[in-house]
Amino acid sequence: MSMNNQGRPSRPVHTYDAGAYEDTFSGSRGLDQAEPLIFERGHFDNTGVDLDEPKGTPTRLAGLDREGEIGFPGLSEPEAMRHYVRLSRKNYAIDLGLYPLGSCTMKHNPRLNEKMARLPGFGDIHPLQPQSTVQGAFELIGELAHWLMTLTGTPAVAMSPKAGAHGELCGMMAIRAALDARGEKHRRRVLVPESAHGTNPATAVQCGFTVDEIPANEGGRVDMEAFKAKLGDDVAGIMLTNPNTCGLFERDIKEIADLIHEAGGYFYCDGANFNAIVGRVRPGDLGIDAMHINLHKTFSTPHGGGGPGSGPTVFSEALAPYAPVPYVKQNGDSWTMIEHEGEAREDGTDPFGRMTAFHGNMGMFTRALSYMMSHGSDGLKQAAEDAVLNANYIQARLSHVMTQAFEGTCMHEALFDDRFLKDTGVSTLDFAKAMIDEGYHPMTMYFPLVVHGAMLIEPTETESRASLDRFCDTLEGLALAAKAGEKDRFMAAPVHAPAKRLDETRAARSPILRWTPPTDEQVAAE
């Protein structure tokens, strides 16, 4: 064995046959380290936090003191650090690579925003402190509200919804309240295109509406004839995503707005895809009555492995009075927060209620405003244009090997169907899982439902051309491999991920939703 000049072996001591040592003694595979549950490794009497010693004075809990152990272990700080760092390495992340989930807008999350949210004057203030001690917080909420209203061309915004779906609820409740105020209790039917996100119909039902689906036309947009046929005096409104979930701009949107208004209904616009049009289209100009904005999509607050999000909801003049409490109000140099419905009525509004305990996800407001100010009005417009350019570039680069679902250019996401996989034995799911082996998170699959075996790719504006080229080269390679009959590599995929395909049926059939201590028999068997 020879040594290099750093004193390390210049080649492996032994050469193994590939695959011969897949099973390791530790269960780890190099940097992919096996990590047990805290319940299996921790000590039930250990702790990683040093606290003052209690004095041991008698409690005053009316005899309701806890009896027995709580039932979870503690880890010392180094053990806890290692546990969570090891687990983190089993996650894909936008900081690791392109994250092409269509409709999710996985863009770069600037760390400046994290720093701003953690300033003690924002991160360490209480929602019920005296209002005189949080004037800067109200100012920030007011400033963000101003940016959102200006970008959308609307006169009002409710800041408290905690996520996109919560914003939808906010918008639809305002519609319900407006209809009730008009005394039109017969208007209970909401029109929802069949390409809509699942949250749309679920939200409509939570507001006491029934859902009537509008089919898509062959071009992936609302079928106008079908839409017109569904209008009537029992229609409460329409919920429409624009750009829609096929990645296309609804060309007839102004006509849709006019017709729904003529029919006496309201227009709810799902703003999930606002990223494509910021600075180029103001939804308020199109005649929408309500639209939520996903700050965690368009304005780059981190997705955090599934939240928290934030869903401020803008309103037209018609719906603005029904916006929920609380809301901030500027009086000259000072700000107040209107917290109760009674107070709001004295202020001349008629809120439908309250969405949440406090004022919404302030921590997301700070991040979003930091992002928006960094970009500025010019940068935000450029971001939207680059997002659309990147998606079209992917579509142009891949349409010769994959099948584009609809003709023409797209907006911020490129939609393919599974025709190119016909007779290959490879499904959309298999194709997506093979992407994992190539180091990519899969795109959104099987959504929207109107496209067979849908693959919805949203690169966002924060990918370089080189990154897009690598991605396209990879997908091209996979598409050609599928067509060349290399079905096996797809069926086995992923083989290079921390886990192979997981048995979801088993998980749902007999759910194990928590760790339980081993029984005496299990302990004895070991």
Binding site: T47, V49, L64, G74, H126, F249, S377, L502
Partner: protein, 448 residues
């Protein structure tokens, strides 16, 4: 612009590949009448330094909780969070990942959620817990809807001592589904007469413990009264640390337990993002009716243990208009912060932390209620209590600000116009020093 990688040359090359002459052509589908020409009337791009200056200017107008003797509670509490927590939740792999729909490359998030669910269930004394909700108030509202689905009834009875913002959020979510959410009047210092409101049509009783005034209650008789009528008991908490010292809601007979997890790991953040905890009985019917995400254990193709999001047939992306809830996200990163803080503490640390909180509050209550004209309204409490003052409490709180003390929440801020103007809610935690208590006592004495 620092967040945009494309260069002008890139854009030209890419437009060429697409086969269009300009980026405007990509927006051809936008009808001309819908286009906004020019640049919207907002400031242009800013450097990091400029943004930092603007934010620092606004932040300085606020008084941070750590800058003053601080006793504000009523649904959010000032606690110390170990530095490890904030470091770990800023790991790129946690911070910048999406919902774990692809389990092969999301085992980190999924395993931490599984551990989170187990910790929540253990602490609440329940059999199962979900992967978190937006916050305590929305968890409360969702619990009421779940109880209505399970019992097939549509009346909920809300305790008057349930945090009024929780009651309002619940009422708002339920009202358009024709669910009656009757709220009793507030009764500071006692358990309201809620058991007598339960009928054969009641789906659930919702009661907070410790209640909004800080008073602790034995929920066992209420659970029995509810169960006798076929109704469910929903127990709510706003201070999760209380569970470290108190008999769990599960042990008192609750069927669903919901609350705010903010005290552990999350920080104050002016009201959000927080983390809603949601736990319930393990009956099949309960699990199938739960809202929100659930992580579950399974195996991969090699037979190795792994975790997935499961029972998604309850959820909106599968069931659409028949889903149990419209909820799409959980509060993932805050749930992670919560579980890391819990893991660092361990069960012994949680109990000890709870005891420290309780002792601080007991000491403060004794000192403040010894002042002339001040009366302790809540005789049994955890880390928050209510005082009756000889003056209007809102005015006292403002006067305390002038003395540099953030001295609690006037009950009238939560219940305006309900004749509770002389009541002050005061919280004490492990973060309060002896000097803080001295300062509060001295300041209150002066302003009364």
């Amino acid at each position: 612009m620092r967040y945009l990688p494309l260069t002008p040359d890139d854009r030209t090359i890419m437009l060429d590949k697409i086969g269009v002459s300009s980026v405007d052509a990509l927006f051809d589908d936008v009808p001309e009448s819908a286009r906004f020409d020019g640049v919207v009337d907002l400031p242009r791009r800013a450097t990091e330094l400029q943004v930092e200056r603007a934010f620092t200017r606004m932040a300085k107008k606020n008084t941070a909780a750590s800058e003053a003797p601080f006793f504000v509670g009523a649904g959010a509490y000032k606690h110390h969070v170990p530095a490890t927590v904030d470091h770990l939740i800023q790991r790129s792999e946690y911070l910048t990942s999406y919902t774990p729909y692809q389990p092969e490359i999301s085992q980190g998030t999924l395993q931490t959620l599984f551990e989170f669910q187990t910790q929540v269930a253990a602490l609440t004394g329940m059999e199962v817990a979900n992967a978190s909700m937006y916050d305590g108030s929305t968890a409360c509202a969702e619990a009421v809807l779940m109880a209505c689905r399970i019992t097939r009834r549509n009346k909920a009875v809300l305790s008057g001592n349930l945090h009024p913002h929780y009651a309002a959020a619940t009422h708002t979510l339920a009202k358009y589904m024709d669910i009656d959410t009757t709220s009793q009047g507030a009764k500071p210092g006692s358990l309201d007469d809620i058991a007598n409101s339960i009928t054969d049509e009641t789906a659930c009783v919702v009661v907070q413990n410790p209640d909004v005034f800080g008073k602790v209650h034995d929920l066992t008789p209420l659970a029995e009264a509810a169960h006798a009528k076929g109704a469910l008991l929903i127990a709510v908490f706003t201070e999760v640390v209380s569970l470290g010292l108190m008999k769990s809601p599960g042990a008192m007979g609750a069927d669903i337990v919901v609350g705010e997890g903010q005290s552990l790991g999350v920080g104050l953040q002016f009201g959000g993002p927080y983390v809603g905890l949601f736990a319930c009985r393990g009956d099949r019917n309960f699990i199938r009716n739960m809202p929100g995400r659930l992580a579950g254990e399974t195996v991969d193709a090699d037979g190795r243990r792994g975790f997935v999001l499961t029972l998604s047939t309850r959820e909106q992306h599968i069931r659409r208009d028949k889903a149990t809830s419209n909820i799409c996200t959980n509060s993932g990163l805050m749930a992670l912060a919560w579980t890391i803080h819990c893991t660092l503490l361990g069960q012994d640390g949680v109990s000890k932390l709870a005891r420290l909180n309780h002792e601080r509050a007991c000491e403060l209550a004794d000192r403040l209620s010894a002042l002339p004209g001040v009366e302790l309204v809540t005789d049994a409490f955890f880390n928050e209590f209510t005082l009756r003052l000889p003056k209007d409490a809102a005015g006292v709180v403002e006067a305390l600000v002038d003395k540099g003390v953030l001295g609690g929440v006037p009950a009238s801020r939560l219940y305006p116009g309900k004749g509770l103007d002389d009541l002050l809610l005061v919280a004490a935690t492990e973060t309060n020093t002896d000097e803080d208590l001295d300062a509060f006592e001295a300041a209150l004495k002066e302003v009364l």
